[in-house]
C-alpha cells in the first residue's frame, strides 16, 4: 500500500490535511476549483494503489516516493501558519498587544508541539556528528593514512584491491578513489542484507561473499577456500576485525597497520 510506504509520522499527515482544509475554505472560488482539480487529477494519476501497482512495474518501485515531492507539504503548512498569523495581526477588532500575544502564542504552541512530537536535526547532529572534517568514521580516516604509505609499494598506476568490512566499504571509496573494493556494495546490500543468492550476480560473488564473512563477521572458514578466493579476486589488502592474527597468518597475510577497530593485512 502506498500509504503504509510513505507516511512515517501521523503529525505531518494531520498538519497537511488541516492546512489543505484551511486553504480550501479560505481560497476564493476560482483558485479553489483549480486546487481541487489539480489534487483530484494527481490523486487519480499517482496517489493511489492501482497507479502504484502499474507504475512500479515501469519504474523502480523504490523511486515512487519522488512523485510526492511535487506536493510541498512543508511549505503548505508554513503558508497556512503565516496566513493565520497575518489574519490575526491585521484583525482590528482586537487590541494590538493582544494580537501580538496571540501570534506569539500560536507560533510557540506550533513549534512546541513539533519539539515534543518530532525529532529534530539539531539533536541528530549532536548525537551523531563524527568529529573530523571528513565527517567519516575515524577507522576510515586511519585506514586512508595506512593506505597512503602502503601505496608507495605498489607499481605505478596499479590500483590495490581491497577486501573490507561493511563500514569501510561504505566510506573508504568516498575518500580514496584509487583502489578497488572487491567486497562491494552488491555483496553487503543485495546479498547479505537482502538475502539474494550470490550466483545471481556472477560466479565471482561466491568468493566476494566468502571474503565478506571473514572481514565483517570475523569467522574463519576453511583456509584453502579463503586462499582460493583471495587468489581469484587478486586481493592485495584485507581489513579484518582485531584478534584474528593467527588466522590471517595462516592465510599468508602480513599486518601493515591497525585502526581503532580493525587490523590491515597485505597479501
Amino acid at each position: 500500500m502506498i500509504t503504509t510506504l510513505y507516511i512515517t509520522s501521523p503529525v505531518w499527515l494531520l498538519l497537511t490535511v488541516i492546512a489543505m482544509i484551511y486553504l480550501i475554505v479560505r481560497l476564493r472560488k476560482e483558485p479553489r476549483k483549480l486546487l481541487l482539480l489539480c489534487g483530484g487529477v494527481f490523486a487519480v494519476l499517482i496517489l493511489n494503489d492501482i497507479s502504484y501497482g502499474i507504475l512500479s512495474k515501469l519504474f523502480d518501485p523504490a523511486s515512487y516516493y519522488r512523485f510526492l515531492w511535487v506536493i510541498p507539504y512543508g511549505m503548505l503548512i508554513a503558508y497556512v501558519l503565516l496566513r493565520i498569523c497575518i489574519d490575526i495581526a491585521q484583525c482590528e477588532k482586537m487590541a494590538k498587544g493582544l494580537r501580538q500575544l496571540l501570534v506569539l502564542a500560536i507560533l510557540c504552541g506550533f513549534f512546541g508541539m513539533l519539539y515534543q512530537t518530532q525529532d529534530n536535526f539539531g539533536m541528530r547532529w549532536y548525537s551523531q556528528h563524527p568529529w573530523n572534517e571528513y565527517v567519516a568514521e575515524p577507522d576510515v580516516v586511519q585506514l586512508a593514512e595506512i593506505m597512503e604509505k602502503e601505496k608507495e609499494n605498489f607499481p605505478k598506476d596499479t590500483m590495490p584491491r581491497l577486501a573490507t568490512p561493511q563500514i569501510i566499504m561504505l566510506q573508504y571509496q568516498t575518500i580514496d578513489g584509487a583502489c578497488i573494493v572487491s567486497t562491494d556494495r552488491v555483496v553487503y546490500l543485495q546479498i547479505r542484507r537482502d538475502g539474494q543468492d550470490p550466483g545471481v550476480f556472477g560466479e565471482q560473488y561466491y568468493d566476494k561473499f566468502l571474503l565478506s564473512q571473514v572481514c565483517e563477521d570475523g569467522i574463519c572458514p576453511d583456509k584453502e577456500l579463503v586462499k582460493g578466493a583471495l587468489e581469484r579476486e587478486q586481493i592485495d589488502i584485507m581489513i579484518v576485525r582485531k584478534g584474528m592474527e593467527d588466522y590471517m597468518e595462516v592465510l599468508g597475510g602480513k599486518q601493515i597497520g591497525t585502526t581503532d577497530s580493525f587490523a590491515v593485512y597485505r597479501f
Binding site: Y6, T8, S9, W12, P31, K33, L34, L37, C38, V41, L45, F59, Y65, R66, F67, L68, W69, V70, P72, Y73, G74, M75, A78, Y79, L82, I86, F111, L114, Y115, D119, N120, F121, G122, M123, R124, W125, E133, Y134, V135, A136, E137, M159, L162, I167, M169, L170, Q173, T174, I175, D176, G177, A178, C179, I180, V181, S182, D184, R185, Y188, L189
Partner: protein
Amino acid sequence: MVDILQGVVAVVVLLLIITIWGYGIGKRCAIELPHLPMQILVGFFGVFIFLELLVLPILFFYNNVRFATGFIGIFMGIITLGILLKYKLAVFETVKDVKEKGLFFLTLLLGAIMVFLAVGQRYLGFDTTYYVGMMNSFLTYNEFWTRDACMGLEYLPIVPLHYALSCFYPFFAMIALVFHIPVRIVAMFVIRGLCVFLFGMTAFCCGYEFFGREKKYAYCFTLLCFGISVFMVSEVHGFAFMMMVRGYESKGYCAAVVAPMCILALIKIMKEIDNQKNWHLLAIICWASMPVAMSSMAVIPVAVAVAGFVMMIYYKRFFYVLLRCFYCVLPNLLLMSWYIIGKKFPMSWGG
C-alpha cells in the same frame, strides 16, 4: 580545515557566477527577476542547462574530465565576462534590495544555522558510497562514469544512462578539481550547504508570490519553512531529509529546489495564463530539471502534465496550454526516451 575553507571559496565563486548568469538569462529570456533569490535561482537553472549541452557531447565523444573542466571553464568564463560587459554592474542591482529591517539578518542567521546543521549530518547509506565514490572515480581515472562504485570501482563497460544523462555529479567533481578540494568535502559541505541555501531562495520566491509580493512576508515565510524543516527528521522520503541529510545527492536538489520551483511556476501560470514570462520561467526550470537531477525525469513532466490538464479543462484553451507544456517538458521526454532505449539496448563505451 583548509579544505573546508576552499569549499567556502568555491561556494562564493559559484554563487557569484550564477548571480551574474541569472541576470543575463533573465534579461535575454524575458524572465521576471523581482528580487535577488529569483535571479540566483534562474542563474542556477541556466548554468545547468548550459552544462548539460556541453557535458553530454564531451561524455560521448571525448570522455576526459580534465579536458571537460578546461573547456567548460573557458566557456563559462567568456559568457560570464560577456554578461558583465553587456550589463555592467546592473547585474548586482537586485543585491541592494534584499534588506528588510531585521528580518533579513534573522533569515540569514537561521539560514546559516541550517547550513551548519546540514553539513554536520552524517549519513552512511549505501548511496553515499555510490555517488561520492563515483565522483572520486571521475578524478582518479580522468573519465566520467567508466567505473562502477556499486562494484567497488571496477571498470564499467556500459554507459550508466540512469545517471550519465545528468551533469550534476560531473559538475561538482569538476568543482573539486578546480578548487583542489577532496570530493568527500565537496559532497558533504559544498553540495549540501548549497542545497540548503538554494532551498532558502526557493522559499523566499514562494513567500514573495504567495503573500502579495511583500518582502517582509517573504522573509517570514522563509523563516517558517526553515523552522518547519528542522523537525522533519522522521520523514525520510520528504524534502527536508533529502536536503539536510542527502543534500549531497541530486535528489536533495530535486526535492528542495526543482520541484517546489516548478510548482511555483505552475501556480504563477494558473494565476496569469497569458503572461509569457511565467511560461519562460517554467521552461527554464523544466529544462534544467534533468541536468540537475535524474529524479526529475518523470516527476517534473507529471507535475506539468497534471497542471496542464487542469488548465486545459478550466480555461478551455487546449492547444495554447498543450503546446507550451509540451515545449517545457520536451528535453525531459527526449532524455527519458534515450534512457528507456538505453535500457533495452545498452551502450558500451567507444560505440
